[in-house]
């Protein structure tokens, strides 16, 4: 089983975690003011890269807190973990999303 390193608790088994999809997607400040295109972007469109991806994870079986991770979607290896609100760490060959 894959071990995931929670920034608060350290390495724990994958089943303790929940996936939260792409990280760094902010809720629109004034949703009523968005165009249909902007609103549908927020609702339905997420990146789907083959390779490093900045995403949110929730450690439900431990500290019960959300954190961010950069994970390679091909090898499934975690390349970095960091706190929400922090910038995605620069990794060689990785594009910062948003």
């Amino acid at each position: 089983m894959q071990l995931i390193e929670c920034p608060n608790c350290g390495k724990r088994e994958e089943i303790e975690f929940h996936y939260g999809g792409q990280a760094h997607i902010a809720y629109p400040e004034d949703p009523a003011a968005t165009t249909d295109h902007e609103w549908s972007d927020y609702l339905f469109f997420r990146d789907n890269p083959k390779g490093p991806f900045a995403e949110r994870w929730y450690h439900g079986g431990g500290c019960r807190r959300w954190f961010n991770a950069v994970r390679d979607t091909t090898s499934y290896r975690f390349l970095a973990v960091y706190q929400p609100g922090e910038r995605m760490p620069a990794l060689p060959g990785t594009r910062v999303t948003r």
Partner: protein
């Protein structure tokens, strides 16, 4: 018979290689239509372009081996008992095509209409199931509600005891649903398409789309540039990557989806049983393996493999439903990459780039659609206008909000 006489060269008495089912040509410089992705959908689309819509100068480009993606990895459930009119339209069209497909292709497909039971485990399940049965009947799709005893009659090994975590309260039943042999389906289409002049080109990965003045003019591949009048994308799990070559962003997430088979057993399971609540579905292949699938792994993944705890949960669900499986041995597990949309309905669509067509988002349930997609996507490409049966499945629906929300409604995957 193998000749084992001492002194004979090994293999000397083996039969010749059987005839190849399709030609293996090198790519030409230019085609009328290039299809990206040699899975079931790509090959079937090419076949109908040639056989129904008169376009034979067609290439299917496949980065690996033909049908080595989800086509060779799915659990082959075929049914059309979806809730919404748009869905039952395309899936029922497909099921009707399955019913004449062996004859059309002149090839055995082991298509077996053994029926499918979609189990209900809670009062809400029961209400949703009955609603779906009624919707199906209104759409001319065969469907009935059966109670727990009816389930037992159709599939005697199902545990209908009330004493389990998720008791079986009944099921929807579609008698015309069933399974087919996925490899044979791919081979049957490939053989027929090749005979009509379609070039099926393996080990040919598309690495770029050439767009000039808003129009697609060809593709870049690891075997050189290929010019094309039209380009049709049928890359399933890799659709986001390939559409990205033309700057098109898709509302898709690619997930691992796993399945498994047991060792070969005597026939014990006469139909197909699916349960969304306990996340398992089971049929028994002609050879005798129990074929089981589960839900997707939660994270995005392009690795064609998933986590073992998904398999573990799926097996515990299977054993609760089918106690006799407790002694069966697991033979093999594997995974594919499925492209999931927010509303769990496919995207079959024109794009902002003229001459570039999309077929993707079939997620966990596109095998059953293979003939139906092949036909309607081919018509969409040939006429440069959506076939009526896929007109609701545009990319634009995620902008207008006209979703076809099968996720919550049908409450079943695959």
């Amino acid at each position: 018979m193998l000749d084992t006489t001492p002194g004979t060269a090994p293999g000397a008495a083996l039969p010749d290689h059987p005839d190849f089912l399709w030609r293996n040509p090198d790519p030409k410089k230019v085609y009328d239509v290039v299809i990206v992705g040699g899975g079931g959908h790509g090959i079937a689309t090419a076949y109908y372009l040639a056989s129904r819509y008169g376009i034979t100068n067609v290439a299917v480009l496949e980065k690996g081996w033909l049908a080595g993606g989800n086509m060779a990895r799915n659990t082959t459930i075929i049914r059309s008992n979806y809730l919404w009119d748009e869905s039952s339209g395309i899936y029922e069209h497909s099921l009707k095509m399955w019913e004449g497909l062996e004859e059309d292709l002149g090839y055995p497909l082991l298509f077996s209409q053994r029926g499918v039971l979609n189990l209900a485990h809670s009062l809400q399940d029961v209400r949703d199931s009955k609603r779906r049965v009624n919707a199906n009947v209104l759409n001319g799709v065969d469907a009935e509600w059966v109670d727990a005893d009816g389930v037992k009659e159709l599939c005697p090994i199902v545990n209908i005891s009330p004493d389990v975590r998720y008791p079986v309260l009944g099921a929807t039943y579609q008698p015309r649903a069933g399974i087919a042999k996925h490899d044979y389906v791919a081979w049957g289409y490939a053989r027929a398409a090749s005979a009509l002049g379609v070039d099926l080109i393996q080990n040919c990965e598309v690495t770029g789309l050439d767009v000039r003045g808003g129009r697609v003019v060809g593709v870049q591949t690891n075997r050189g540039t290929i010019a094309a009048g039209k380009v049709a994308l049928a890359a399933a799990g890799h659709s986001s990557v390939v559409a990205g070559f033309a700057g098109i962003r898709l509302p898709l997430q690619s997930h691992p989806l796993q399945a498994l088979v047991s060792e070969l057993l005597e026939p014990v399971h006469p139909t197909v049983v699916m349960s969304n609540a306990v996340h398992v579905y089971v049929s028994q292949a002609h050879k005798g393996e129990l074929v089981m699938g589960a839900g997707v792994d939660s994270y995005n993944g392009f690795g064609q493999r998933g986590a073992f705890h998904i398999i573990e949960r799926q097996m515990s669900a299977a054993i609760e439903l089918f106690p006799v499986f407790a002694r069966a041995h697991l033979l093999r597990t594997w995974g594919g990459i499925v492209d999931v949309t927010p509303d769990a309905s496919p995207i079959v669509s024109l794009t902002d780039v003229s001459g570039l067509y999309l077929n993707c988002g079939w997620g966990t349930g596109g095998f059953k659609a293979t003939p139906g997609v092949g036909d309607t996507f081919a018509a969409t490409i040939a006429n440069d206008a959506p076939h009526p049966l896929v007109a609701a499945f545009t990319l634009d629906r995620f902008r207008t909000g006209a979703l076809v929300d099968e996720h919550g409604a049908a409450a079943v995957a695959h």
